[in-house]
Amino acid sequence: MINTNEILETIHMIDQQHLDIRTITMGISLLDCADPDPKSACRKIYEKITRQADRLVATGEAIEREFGIPIVNKRISVTPMALVAGASQCESYVPFAVAMDDAAKATGINFIGGFSALVQKGATPADRKLVASIPEALAITDYVCSSVNVGSTRAGINMDAVAAMGRTIKQAAERTADRGGFGCAKLVVFCNAVEDNPFMAGAFHGVGEPECVINVGVSGPGVVYHALQSVKGASFDVVAETIKKTAFRVTRMGQLVAQEASRRLGVPFGIVDLSLAPTPAIGDSVARILEEMGLAVCGTHGTTAALALLNDAVKKGGVMASSHVGGLSGAFIPVSEDEGMIAAAASGALHLDKLEAMTCVCSVGLDMIAVPGDTSAATISAIIADEAAIGMVNSKTTAVRIIPAPGKVVGDTVEFGGLLGSAPVMPVHPFGSDAFVARGGRIPAPMQSLKN
């Protein structure tokens, strides 16, 4: 029998350290729903999602009860919608988002990702229509998440798409101005987007994926934070080992839940995403882990190094614990969703420039950042371009999820509620990038040798 201390340790992790499975995400291919008649395509989309995900929520809840481990979210990702809707003869793709939203509501999940386009090298007419439909789609649906991939290490950066996304983000904010620009919280701009990411808002079901798949995202910043409290003052060798061991345990639990969900649903297991995903709850913060390493506040000098160690140790610990690791896997640094990040940003210690540096060594990018409502589309595009360049050159996923909060200025706070938390409005540089963004075209793919 497992010894009592191990059992109590697990229960303590769940009860007091916010250990949970962050999401079970079912990926569903919608490629066979393409139809020249948009109404018929939407009907097929609704029917396929509700059929495949019929038992998703009930199964997740049953596993939760039997194992005594919270599964916070049950979600769905689908084929990038531009690929499906492209076959239909219509100008707006908003009805496709509505079909996704209706299916999400019918299945009882809380987010559906995949209102997406992949335009890293160029856009098809369908991709352009999808991007043009994003602001309205996000304003009138509740659960639909959208993402656009504008760059990759192999293709370079599509600067026309970067410019378009700056404008799209502004429009999405304006269309949801009554909710603090909430539409932008459901919109991610990627470089090197992955096909099997279970986390929202950037999840979509890539074309290289099977018909249907189960991906699981674990969490556990609170567990890592607690583990580090027991090695105060120890060297970084000890810190790294402690994080690895903790990540191993957390991931083993994710692997177990993923296999169980896959077996019960009769759907293949895809990957476990080893991410440290924070929430606004006290004790569930990535920023506080960095501070536990000895920083007075997240954002000060040393933050990037601390995050690099954390991100790497999480991967090393988790990779042996799961048969298939994928998705984004690393530490997330969403400002509004992390109690410590919110505090650091509100105190003025954490700036956009430092966050950008941190994204060079963490799993994703500039995430859930509120900026003043009068930030120009060109400035947002330039922020996206900077972030995409980091991802492109370093062969990693980077993303921008930024909210130009309508009517808000630096010092204000935007409330999103729930897991999305609240974001202090952060300043952007006042100097324009308009002529830079207006050039358009493509930034060529980088060298893969002569690395310096």
């Binding site: 497992i2 191990e6 005594g68």
Partner: protein, 89 residues
């Protein structure tokens, strides 16, 4: 199917009897028990076999939790697999 039942709460007369009766009434067999008192706090861990119970396991877990709550005890039943996964390679 094997499961771990943990009982945590302020120590008093009859906790063991209560939990054992609840399990026996549902035809759940107790395989192993470990129990200690930590600073007046009753801590019991049981390994049980619920495969002969007619009650679905999720409902058994809910029932134990509810019965515990009535008496200010934290009783939970979890499948053994989760602990094996976390602590054994």
């Amino acid at each position: 199917m094997r499961a771990i039942v943990t009982v945590l709460g302020k120590d008093r007369v009859g906790i063991m009897s209560l939990v054992c009766s609840l399990l026996a009434e549902r035809n759940v067999n107790i395989l192993d028990i470990s129990q200690t008192i930590l600073q007046d706090y009753f801590t019991m861990v049981m390994l049980v076999d619920a495969s002969e119970s007619a009650l679905p396991f999720a409902e058994l877990a809910a029932l134990l939790a509810a019965e515990g709550e009535k008496r200010d005890l934290d009783i939970r039943a979890q499948r053994e697999d989760i602990f094996n996964a976390m602590h054994r390679i």
